[in-house]
């Protein structure tokens, strides 16, 4: 084994001890660089496998996608050399994220799904996983009848090695209940996810965020607060959860926990510069916009914020005009909404944005008692 290869395996082993996030991506990226210097195909392949994982779960999908394309090509060029299940499993990640990039056309996305579908069948797997993604994509495109139809088909198909883990499947069920407007049922379903008896790498991280607004709508603020505390704790270190931070911002604005909300805004704004997932970015900017609007209405005309140097309005003394900032965030979200709606051929994103201010009627102070750790 060459010196470079040894270093690759050292780095990959180190990466296994890390949590998803920037450090993990950096370590795997270094492994890929060393692997390429070694020129050994297997080493290059394994390093990229880990790199794809790190990128997908660390909020750098676009880089993960490039590395995945390479993996898939090498998989096809070298029959029998690499694990079929592992490449299909990664394919699922990519398919689940590809919608978040409005520059990728609808045709391309559908073609990708068909390819995954054909490959899954050739490998002897069922289509439960594929239909999960068909459901999600139709949901993303605001095609409700097709989404529900695909969800039903998915439910009837048996589980196999390619379908998601029990925690993720339950999270999907919770999401579907929410999609159907059954908030109370969704909260009940989420029980095993929230009490820790079913977990995985991204659940209940996502679940908590998705229940914040429904719980407020149900008037169950105490539980919503719990979801904020526990949920934020889990996502606060990984920029992949930029979108969920947006959900937490809306929750904090609705319950008038403004200091905490501003703290989150300062802490996570820098993520918008590294996370190129535009759907994530949309949800984050929408959250800030909503927060700033409420602050402005409450008479906070200026704000003191610690923003990164690259922030477009960066001011030396850290003072910002709330109104201008809110307006800018609205423009950011609107521009993104427009790109999504054009690709998706709906008005779902713009509508979501237009309807956001109506959430204000849910506003009611509900302070966090203890200062968070």
């Amino acid at each position: 084994m060459s010196r470079n290869e040894e270093r690759v395996y050292e780095l990959l082993e180190r990466s296994l001890k890390l949590e998803d996030g920037d450090e993990m991506i950096a370590v795997c990226e270094e492994a890929v660089r060393e692997a390429d210097l070694s020129g050994d195909l297997e080493t290059q392949y394994y390093a990229r496998e880990q790199f794809v994982r790190a990128c997908v779960f660390g909020g750098e999908t676009e880089r993960g996608m490039v590395a995945f394309a390479w993996l898939l090509a090498q998989f096809d060029l070298n029959p029998g050399m690499f694990s079929q299940w592992r490449i299909l499993w990664k394919y699922k990640w990519i398919v689940s994220l590809v919608c978040d990039f409005p520059q990728i056309s609808k045709e391309r996305i559908l073609e990708m799904l068909d390819d995954l579908s054909a490959r899954s069948q050739q490998a002897g797997f069922g289509l439960r996983a594929v239909y999960t993604h068909r459901y999600r994509i139709e949901k993303f495109w605001d095609n409700r009848p097709a989404a529900i139809e695909n969800y039903r088909i998915m439910q009837e198909l048996p589980r196999d090695d390619l379908s998601n883990c029990p925690a993720c499947e339950l999270d999907e069920e919770v999401g579907f209940a929410l999609y159907c407007g059954k908030n109370e049922h969704a909260v009940e379903l989420a029980g095993p996810l929230l009490n820790g008896s079913k977990t995985c790498t991204t659940v209940p991280h996502r679940t908590y965020a998705s229940l914040l607004l429904p719980l407020v709508q149900l008037g169950r603020h105490e539980e919503a607060l719990h979801c904020h505390r526990a949920g934020y704790e889990l996502i606060s270190k990984n920029k992949d959860y930029l979108d969920r931070v947006g959900d937490h911002l809306i929750f904090l604005a609705l319950t008038e926990n403004f200091d905490r909300a501003i703290q989150l805004l300062e802490r996570h704004y820098p993520w918008t510069e590294q996370n190129r997932d535009l759907a994530d970015r949309f949800r984050f900017f929408r959250g800030i916009w909503f927060l700033l609007e409420i602050l402005e209405e409450r008479g906070r005309k200026t704000l003191n914020l610690r923003m990164p140097r690259s922030f477009p309005f960066s001011s030396i003394d850290g003072r910002y005009e709330t109104k201008r900032l809110a307006e800018w965030c609205r423009q950011q979200s609107e521009a993104l909404a427009k790109r999504f709606d054009e690709r998706n051929e709906t008005d779902f994103f713009s509508r979501t944005l237009r309807e956001t201010p109506s959430l204000k009627k849910l506003c009611a102070p509900f302070p966090l008692n203890n200062s968070p750790a």
Binding site: R14, K17, L18, E19, G21, D22, E23, M24, A26, R33, D36, L37, E62, R63, M65, V66, A67, A69, W70, L72, A73, Q74, D76, L77, V98, F101, P102, Q103, I104, S105, R108, E111, M112, D115, P192, N195, G196, S197, H226, R229, A230, E233, S236, K237, R267, P270, R276, L278, R306, P308, R309, N369, N370, S371, P372, A373
Partner: protein, 604 residues
């Protein structure tokens, strides 16, 4: 009279042993837990009662027998039916757990774990309340059980008798039992006696240090560190006693004698009401506190169903904050009283310090100046940096750092590599602490600005060369400049920003993927701004470059440019793309051929 379970007991046992319990050995924990609960319940109405527990192993007969006996509250006939009902309920649920705060239900579930090591379980019990009849319950793993009322009268309490099932022999050995009983129950406050024939042992013979009084600090230190050594076979750097009235938590944090990796799972040893809950508890301390390993007992925190962690609620958040404050105070005190020790501690755990400084203003103010940063001139603390350099230069990008470190050093510029976790965030706030210091974000472009421009005459002389070099390197998305810089023996400096590197990796990938994926990548890239070209800056101070730039032989010039380009890429530690590898080969051969053509007559 025999009754029949309504459920398939062997199925449940299988389920329990495979899912709920991480190993068969937990039956020891469950039986100790049952005894502890029974004694607590009895002391509720008999506060002076002295609880105790006996574990007895006897080896006669084909299979050894194990007895767990306590003098707790005991069970009435009605309660026995209740726990049986609970077992039934358990099986109907999807999850294999019930609410553990119910004593009787807990008793039944605890008992189930015994079937993992024993085919029949005999419970002899007499309640300390009510009519106090002795009851004998005999359960078998085939799902049947019998209930009898023997004439003999026993002391109030409960006795559980197990008979070794084939394959479980190791759990019926005194070494294993003593070890396991200590593992789970060493903090329990009532004596646990173990006996096998003449061999007797007290399981919980010493109280933990936080329950002891010490005459002087040295004894205390020795007691705590000794406790840590016994538990973890590790000599800890230091210890911090922990206490929180919220959650009713007592214990100790041991400072690790090595640097843990940033996100290594926090593995604290946690007791709930003096019974071991888990050795891998997370969420008890703030995230930044990864430099310690804790042992604590909590009386008022709620465990999750899996009993691996605590339920994330307000109480836990407040407890975490309280414990965090104590660790923080420990560090601040150390800064005042023992700076030498603090320095060692920072060397080991600077990541923890940085994590805390990012979020905590006061902590930032106190510790920032002592934190170490990697620079192109070695690792140094901020204080050391400022002592030598009036201006702070940093780069938040590891690739840029790698490419520019040597060259910046040659200009005597000290650059901080802020591409690691937290570093950029901290450095960008350095003016909060030192308002007069200047702060520059360095990248290769800015570094280039510090290189000497050529005079107008010199520029004229090399104009043709630069034009040709730009043409030759255009396909590599690289633009060319020529300046004068140190060190003179470096002919050219290659520099590619993150965007340029990403673009190159897309280019490389497109060479192997099919048409479909090629278009996916094109579409993806179209949405991301990646115009950035890489740059190659030739060094006019380098004698070879000085000569080449004046050469007029286009063929030789082309080969030279290609070779210098490849060499510069290699020096930047970036792997060559396939096109560059071809270039390297062609360039080398080309030069040899050129040499042979030009000087051919000399060879012959």
């Amino acid at each position: 009279m025999d009754y029949k379970f309504q459920v398939n007991l062997s199925g449940i046992i299988d389920l329990l042993s495979k899912h709920t319990y991480s190993s068969p050995r937990v039956f020891v924990r469950e039986l100790q837990q049952n005894a502890a609960d029974a004694i607590t319940a009895r002391r509720h109405f008999e506060p002076e009662h002295h609880g105790e527990m006996h574990i007895e192993l006897s080896g006669d007969g084909p299979a050894p027998t194990l007895i767990f006996r306590d003098n707790g509250i005991g069970l009435t006939e009605e309660e026995i039916h209740l726990f049986l009902a609970t077992i039934g309920q358990t099986s109907k649920r999807d999850e294999s757990f019930v609410q553990r705060d119910d004593f009787i239900g807990q008793f039944g579930i605890g008992l189930l774990s015994c079937f993992v090591v024993s085919d029949d379980v005999v419970v002899t019990t007499r309640s300390a309340r009510g009519e106090g009849r002795t009851i004998e319950w005999r359960g078998r793993s085939d799902g049947t059980y019998s209930l009898e009322f023997p004439d003999r009268e026993i002391e109030p309490g409960t006795e559980v008798r197990l008979r070794c099932k084939s394959g479980s022999e190791q759990y019926f050995e005194s070494d294993t039992l003593i070890r396991l009983a200590r593992h789970y129950g060493s903090l329990l406050r009532f004596p646990i006696h173990f006996a096998e024939g003449d061999l007797t042992a007290l399981i919980n013979d010493a109280r933990p240090p936080w329950e002891q009084e010490f005459e002087n600090p040295l004894f205390e230190r020795e007691a705590y560190l000794g406790y840590g050594r016994d538990l973890f076979q590790m000599d800890f750097f230091d210890y911090v006693p922990l206490k929180s009235s919220i959650g009713d938590v007592h214990g100790v944090a041991f400072v690790l004698p090595f640097s843990p990796s940033l996100a290594m799972k926090k593995t604290h040893r946690v007791y709930l009401k003096n019974m071991l809950l888990s050795e891998q508890t997370e969420g008890l301390l703030p995230d930044w506190a990864f430099f310690v390993k804790c042992v604590v007992n909590a009386n008022d925190l709620r465990p999750t169903a899996s009993r691996e962690a605590f339920y994330e609620d307000e109480t836990l958040a407040a407890t975490r904050a309280a414990l965090g404050r104590q660790l923080r105070k420990y560090l601040i005190d150390l800064a005042e009283k023992n700076p030498g020790q603090l320095r060692t501690l920072i060397q080991l755990h600077f990541l923890s310090f940085k994590a805390l400084a990012v979020d905590d203003e006061e902590f930032f103010q106190i510790f920032m100046k002592w934190l170490p940063f990697e620079t192109n001139m070695g690792t140094m603390t901020l204080t050391e940096y400022i002592a030598e350099h009036k201006v702070i230069r940093y780069t938040p990008d590891r690739d840029q750092f790698r490419q520019t470190a040597a060259i910046a050093a040659a200009q005597s510029l000290c650059v901080i590599n802020a591409g690691f976790t937290y570093d950029a965030q901290l450095i960008e706030r350095v003016q909060d602490l030192f308002p007069s210091i200047q702060l520059y974000r360095v990248n290769a472009d800015i570094l280039l600005l510090s290189f000497k421009f050529l005079t107008i005459d010199e520029q004229d002389e090399v104009a043709e060369f630069v034009k040709l070099a730009n043409q030759v390197l255009e396909p590599f998305q690289c633009s060319v400049e020529i300046r004068s810089f140190h060190p003179g023996d470096l002919p050219a400096l290659y520099n590619a920003g993150t965007a340029a590197l990403f673009k190159q990796s897309i280019g490389e990938t497109k060479k192997v993927v099919n048409g479909f994926w090629s278009s996916v990548l094109d579409e993806m890239t179209s949405g991301i701004q990646l115009e950035e070209f890489a740059q190659l800056c030739f060094n006019y101070s380098n004698p070879a470059v000085y000569k080449i730039a004046r050469m007029r032989d286009e063929r030789l010039l082309k080969f030279s440019i290609q070779m210098l380009y490849v060499q510069a890429v290699l020096l930047s530690h970036r792997p060559l793309t396939s096109k560059e590898t071809v270039l390297l080969n062609e360039g080398l051969l080309g030069l040899i051929e050129w040499g042979a053509d030009t000087f051919g007559e000399w060879v012959q």
